[in-house]
Symmetry: C2
Subunit: 238 residues, 2 copies
């Protein structure tokens, strides 16, 4: 690949899905133009680039749009040299794809349902689902890391599943501050708690998720809980 | 890869998700042992191999289980020589992954909701969603094929999106027979209708989806509509 690429990322500051793409591009050492979208007034470029879902992130590479964060991560990994995001071994790649899909198909809907729940009963149900999904991720981490012998899902360095799950950590911190709920609780999921510490402290995470994001996420959660605010706003990212 | 591989596929005759894997393995010219599961009495091997979802398909390769049909297709493509399933070009790969995810995340839930709907109003809503998703696939096919200049999503030969969408065609035929609904209607989605003809007539499809499958699918739909039957049975595959 040529060094000079025209890369534009349509994003949203608090979207975990966007953060994933920022992290992947940063890990590859690729520079890109970041364009913040206003989901109440989506740009023509967003609507034209992702007419199917009308959501961020969209990576526009030399004029061609790529949508959906997991698709973008694989695209970035296949296209640019530098540190690999997915493992090289086919079985390990399959395992990483399985867990990434699990995060998006099971953990995210449960967690998002919990954040936006207005009724206590609904919230309790979603908390249960979220914690059950996190327990599965503890088992996944135990397997992927050889019971914690490796630092990350990706081995000694951050990889695909780390990025996919790690993109939610500042939101989990916001939930802890607002509701006092430890989604990743060291007493229940000790390996994952240690992983989260390492991930949060990594150069890769610090570069793309500055500390104030959790403060902003707290404000968002409080807004979700206020009935007058459109709770579907976050859902308008992926 | 060595020619001699120990490949076992845990499947279910009428599951589109299983048919995908059969088709991919057949396209690669790889022989495998097929084991039909009984979803009312799941085997120990299935429960052990896919403890997270407990669903078919599971491909067990030299003792290692790979789950989720899209993950398995990519695994098979990466591991075995022979015809490529995903395109070689990174942007085309990203596009294929985008549409495969669309089929599973949008088209499948709408279609499945339609098949199992007991109430007419719910069914009408799901029919609408299904047809809207099919219209998107018409646009996708137009783009991927250069307005029908190529025969398949994958170009001149069957590829990833062809397998993913094509695995539903015999079910669409069953819906046509039971409800008289043309899901892929030549007057509304002409390119996709021509594609479906070509796909259904291909050696690849005929090898893995014999004609009687649609007859069996008809029986299943009629069973779904009978209240005493557990409508969740199909959902126990992916």
């Amino acid at each position: 690949m040529a060094d000079k690429e025209d890369l534009k990322l349509l994003g949203l500051q608090l979207s975990p899905f966007v953060i994933r793409v920022c992290m992947a591009l940063t890990m590859k050492g690729v520079s890109f133009e970041y364009v913040e979208e206003d989901l109440n007034n989506k740009s023509e470029l967003l609507l034209k680039s992702n007419p199917v879902h009308k959501k961020v992130p969209v990576l526009i590479h030399n004029g061609k749009p790529i949508c959906e964060s997991l698709v973008i991560l694989q695209y970035v990994d296949e296209l640019f040299a530098g540190r690999s995001i997915l493992p090289a071994d086919p079985f390990e790649r399959a395992t990483a794809r399985f867990w990434a899909a699990y995060v998006d198909d099971k953990l995210f809907p449960a967690w998002y349902g919990m954040v936006k729940a207005q009724a206590e009963e609904e919230r309790a149900e979603k908390v249960k689902e979220t914690l059950a999904a996190i327990e599965k991720m503890e088992v996944a981490f135990a397997k992927c890391s050889g019971n914690g012998n490796a630092a990350f899902f990706g081995g000694d360095s951050i990889g695909y599943v780390d990025i996919v799950l790690g993109s939610f950590l500042f939101w989990f911190e916001a939930v802890r501050r607002v509701d006092g709920l430890e989604i990743i609780d060291a007493s229940k999921t000790p390996l994952l708690a240690a992983w989260a510490e390492r991930f949060g402290g990594s150069v890769e995470a610090k570069e793309v998720v500055p500390v104030p994001e959790a403060d902003l996420a707290v404000q968002y959660i409080n807004k979700f809980r206020a009935p007058a605010i459109d709770a579907a706003k976050l859902a308008s990212s992926e």
